[in-house]
């Protein structure tokens, strides 16, 4: 084997394999990186709404009927 063939087999090929695995491990998913948010900065992303699918179970109250919305409000 020539020197170039040795380099190809023992250096270049393993290097390409390692590089490929590295890209697949680290590179994939970067586009879904965690959104960094700093209080006060503008929010220019689309609105998002998540909700579950479990059937709702209503619990009857003997002497109370829900008539008002509840909740709370605050800012940071």
């Amino acid at each position: 084997m020539s020197v170039w063939e040795v380099l190809l087999v023992y250096v270049v090929t393993p290097g390409l394999i390692v590089a490929f695995l590295g890209v697949m491990t680290v590179g994939v998913g970067r586009h879904r990186a965690k959104v960094t948010y700093e209080p006060g900065q503008a929010w220019e992303r689309d609105d998002r709404l998540w909700a579950g699918v479990a059937p709702v179970a209503s619990v009857p109250f003997a002497d109370r009927v829900g008539t008002k919305l509840g909740g709370a409000h605050a800012s940071w």
């Binding site: 709404l49 709702v56 179970a57 209503s58």
Partner: protein
């Protein structure tokens, strides 16, 4: 559930019924199904958020929703609109809505959910949300808020 629609004991074999922790049977209201999509959080965060919402709903029998986006000038009205969009489930819905651009959090509970989650519970959830969001942790704000609302709503034992 409409006013006066008291669930009758003894219907333990009705698949549309569930038994609460105290032994009372309750009516199962059909789900409104999944809504929205993702991109704001990482895949693992979305999986955890999904699990938290699912666990909360299974435990409490309420519909839980999380929203991130612009809430407009009247943030409360917009949040109530979102809750109303759940149709038949609206009364049983608890929403944690964040508007990062406005730095506002709104928690809205439907008319029946408000009976389960007292105002004190909603305020506790809001405090937790603003503490997390003030540090830039929107995901933590949403999940903490839902968890606290869950704790205050109590547990419904399904099936009989």
């Amino acid at each position: 559930m409409p006013a006066g629609d008291v669930v009758i004991r003894g219907q333990r074999h009705n698949p549309g019924m569930a038994r609460v922790e105290t032994g009372v049977l309750v009516k199962i209201v059909p789900s409104c199904g999944p809504v929205g999509n993702d991109e704001v959080f990482t895949t693992s965060q979305l999986q955890r958020l999904d699990a938290i919402i699912s666990d909360a709903e299974n435990a409490t029998g309420l519909r839980f929703a999380a929203y991130i986006g612009y809430l407009g000038e009247d943030s409360r009205a917009r949040a109530e609109e979102i809750v109303a969009s759940f149709g038949d489930d609206a009364a049983y819905t608890a929403l944690v809505a964040l508007s990062p651009g406005q730095r506002v959090v709104e928690i809205v509970t439907g008319t029946e959910a408000a009976l389960r989650i007292p105002e004190r519970g909603a305020r506790a959830a809001v405090l937790s949300v603003i503490a997390a969001c003030g540090d830039g942790d929107l995901y933590g704000g949403l999940t903490n808020g839902i968890r606290i609302l869950t704790d205050h709503a109590g547990v419904v034992t399904r099936g009989a």
